[in-house]
């Protein structure tokens, strides 16, 4: 009898210790997960940036444009250089590709010989309209939002291209 109550008491003590420690761990752990995994509240759309002069672009001749843009980087607003491959596809039509290879993020460059965008890292290559021709790249090159205003070519955010 006495041994049974002793056993019961022991069970109660061990159970309580586990419950209290569990509660404390959850009260620290769950906020920590939210803190580390949920992105910051502030979402800023990029402003339209005047990047190129339409009259100086040749049709179907990709041109690398370097421009400055403002980006929110954590607690900072940083002004940084950015690049785009701008292709004039018609009289008033322009597309702008992000120079970032969709495979592992190396910078792609225009190869005027065989008229492809080539990635130096794992030999992915893309056609002038951004589609994958060869190599491990999983999807076409990403495109900037483009607005043509008279002869001004304005670039906005980069939109992720669809798979395949």
């Amino acid at each position: 009898m006495a041994e049974e109550t002793l056993e019961k008491r022991r069970g109660f003590l061990v159970g309580s210790i586990a419950a209290m420690m569990g509660t404390i761990s959850a009260a620290l752990g769950l906020p920590a997960l939210g803190y580390l995994l949920v992105p910051g509240r502030e979402k800023k759309k990029s402003d339209w940036i005047e990047a190129a002069d339409l009259s100086k672009l040749m049709v179907n001749q990709p041109e690398q444009i370097i421009f400055n843009r403002v980006r929110r980087d954590g607690w900072k607003l940083v002004t940084e250089k950015a690049a785009a491959w701008v292709v004039k596809t018609g009289e008033q039509q322009v597309v702008a590709f992000s120079p970032v290879c969709t495979h592992l993020g190396c910078a792609v460059s225009w190869n005027s010989g065989d008229k492809t965008f080539a990635c130096p890292c794992h030999t992915s290559s893309f056609s002038p309209d951004g589609k994958v021709i060869a190599g491990p790249a999983p999807r076409p090159l990403d495109r900037f939002d483009v607005r043509v205003d008279g002869i001004k070519v304005m670039l906005g955010d980069v939109k992720k291209s669809a798979e395949g």
Binding site: L13, I17, M21, I24, L28, P31, A32, Y35, W75
Partner: protein
């Protein structure tokens, strides 16, 4: 299944018997609730380690980014306020618990032979805990942090002979605090002190185990096991402590003040509450005697603490018969409490709006007149349709904000200029100024609006903002009485001959508001 895994681990590492050895330690039958404080103190440290690491993962330890990144943690990140609150209040909690642990050990005479070394290590751990508080105080890089640390470094700089070297050690050449001092404090706070603390806690616990938990003077019953009885008591105490800490962190907001400004002459520096008694002590010693308050007395106190086991070498006796020890505790407690109380009473209170420019106080009026409060809460936890301004930072461009105001409050009698001033105010909003939206008295706001309407700021300045051709208005209401001020508005040349100020005939109510506003302007 579980047993075979445990056996496997045991055979290869001995971990199972190690844990058992630790849990099934023999402790005196008299052990109980009065001995839980060591475990609670250790747990406090653990909470500081966890929350400290979390903060460091989103913190840039260089001024002025330190302030910007902490603001980011508080306003942009999920649970950021909670984690910072836990770390801030956890520091105070740890001081309290470590203090209680010291008190218990002292009163029960648990420092006596052979536990002298355990006691002395404990005193070092107390000093390290204070060191954490001292170095961590600078890290938010707001005015509070900056000016508090300026005072600390200046005090140590006055030490004889060593002073300049200590100052150099703290990365400060001439008493100024900059990136170097910041790096030293941060480095000490996260790289030097934590491993030191962990090693010494390990040693402290080792010595406790070596000598066993201090028994009562007379033990009649046989020894008992540490687990589960005493572990349960420790856990309950830890749980209570953590619940209080969690409640403090969620309910009492720790404001992040304005970014450190070495040119701000209006800021009143105060140290954290556990250093207030030292701050007050300094006031009793002036000139060459200052060193007595800043070095000699604290030094003697620490020395006495260290030497306690060698001063009191008597055999252990019952708590009730330790009248001398109880007397010392009462004396020290009353001394500490009255110094702290005196320091708190001497801290002048300043409402947030009292450091605003007139334009900013008037912007509070625009916020109210525009009824922005219908959609936006301005106190923590006030849920309304729009974002709560106490919880976020406003990033929108000024033009976008003005457009927002025109759309939602365009028909409430506010002019474009007022909208633009409100937008500027909103973009500068911080934890301290957001409080002012609710707390600034109505007549003070009206006074500031009147000040703006009459362009008083073209000639006069308030809190260093405004024109230079007239006298600054801070402190004028203290130096002149009401009749003089009222008369001066009506006929300036009569009261100050040669003044170029035009006369203002205010209505009664306007005059009252203007004077009420002027009375809040401190030197």
């Amino acid at each position: 299944m579980i047993n075979s895994v445990l056996d496997c681990v045991e055979d290869r590492t001995g971990a199972v018997s190690g844990v058992k050895h630790f849990l099934y330690e023999d402790i005196p039958a008299s052990s109980g609730w009065h001995q839980v404080l060591g475990s609670v103190a250790m747990f406090c440290f653990l909470v500081q380690v966890v929350t400290g690491i979390l903060l460091a993962l989103n913190y840039a330890p260089t001024p002025p980014d330190a302030h910007a990144s902490l603001r980011f943690i508080l306003t942009e990140l999920t649970s950021g306020r909670l984690i910072r609150g836990l770390h801030h209040w956890g520091a105070s909690m740890m001081i309290v618990v470590v203090g209680m642990h010291l008190l218990q050990t002292f009163l029960w005479g648990a420092y006596k032979k052979p536990r002298e070394a355990t006691w002395m290590l404990g005193v070092i751990l107390l000093l390290l805990t204070l060191g954490f508080g001292l170095t961590g105080y600078l890290l938010p890089w707001d005015n509070r942090a900056y000016w508090g640390t300026v005072v600390t470094t200046q005090i140590t700089a006055k030490a004889p002979i060593a002073g300049p070297y200590i100052l150099r050690l703290m990365g400060s050449e001439d008493g100024n605090i900059g990136v170097q001092t910041f790096a030293r404090f941060y480095g000490a706070h996260v790289l030097l002190l934590p491993p030191l603390m962990m090693m010494l806690i390990g040693l402290h616990v080792f010595l406790v185990r070596k000598h066993g938990v201090a028994p009562a003077p007379v033990e009649t019953e046989p020894k008992k096991k540490f687990f589960p009885g005493q572990v349960f008591k420790d856990t309950v105490a830890i749980f209570i402590m953590f619940s209080i800490l969690f409640a403090l962190a969620t309910m009492v907001r720790v404001p992040l003040g304005k970014i450190a400004d070495p040119t701000d002459t209006t800021y009143i520096p105060r140290p954290e509450w556990y250093f207030l008694f030292l701050f007050q002590l300094l006031k009793f010693f002036e000139g060459p005697l200052e060193i007595i308050g800043s070095m000699v007395l604290p030094g003697v106190a620490v020395g006495l603490l260290f030497a306690t086991p060698f001063i009191d070498r008597g055999a252990a006796i019952k708590l009730r018969q330790r009248t001398f020890a109880i007397g010392i505790v009462l004396f020290a407690g009353i001394g500490w409490a009255s110094l702290t109380f005196a320091a708190m009473r001497s801290t002048p209170h300043k409402e947030p709006y009292q450091s605003f420019t007139a334009e900013e106080v008037a912007a509070v009026g625009s916020f109210r007149q525009g009824q922005c409060w219908q959609c936006h809460g301005v106190t923590p936890g006030d849920m309304k349709a729009g974002p709560n301004l106490a919880d976020i930072a406003v990033h929108e461009e000024r033009d976008a904000l003005v457009a927002h105001f025109q759309k939602n409050a365009g028909n409430r009698g506010l002019k474009d200029l007022q909208f633009r001033q409100l937008a500027t105010f909103m973009r500068k909003l911080d934890d301290e100024s957001v409080v002012a939206i609710a707390s600034t008295p109505i007549n003070v706001v009206s006074g500031a609006q009147l000040y703006m309407k009459n362009n008083c700021g073209v000639c006069h300045s308030i809190n260093s903002a405004g024109g230079k051709s007239g006298p600054p208005l801070n402190g004028v209401a203290k130096r002149r009485d009401r009749t003089w001020l009222e008369g001066h508005f009506g006929d300036p040349q009569k009261f100050s001959p040669g003044s170029m100020m035009p006369a203002y005939k205010f209505e009664r109510a306007d005059m009252d508001s203007m004077l009420a506003y002027m009375e809040t302007l401190k030197d």
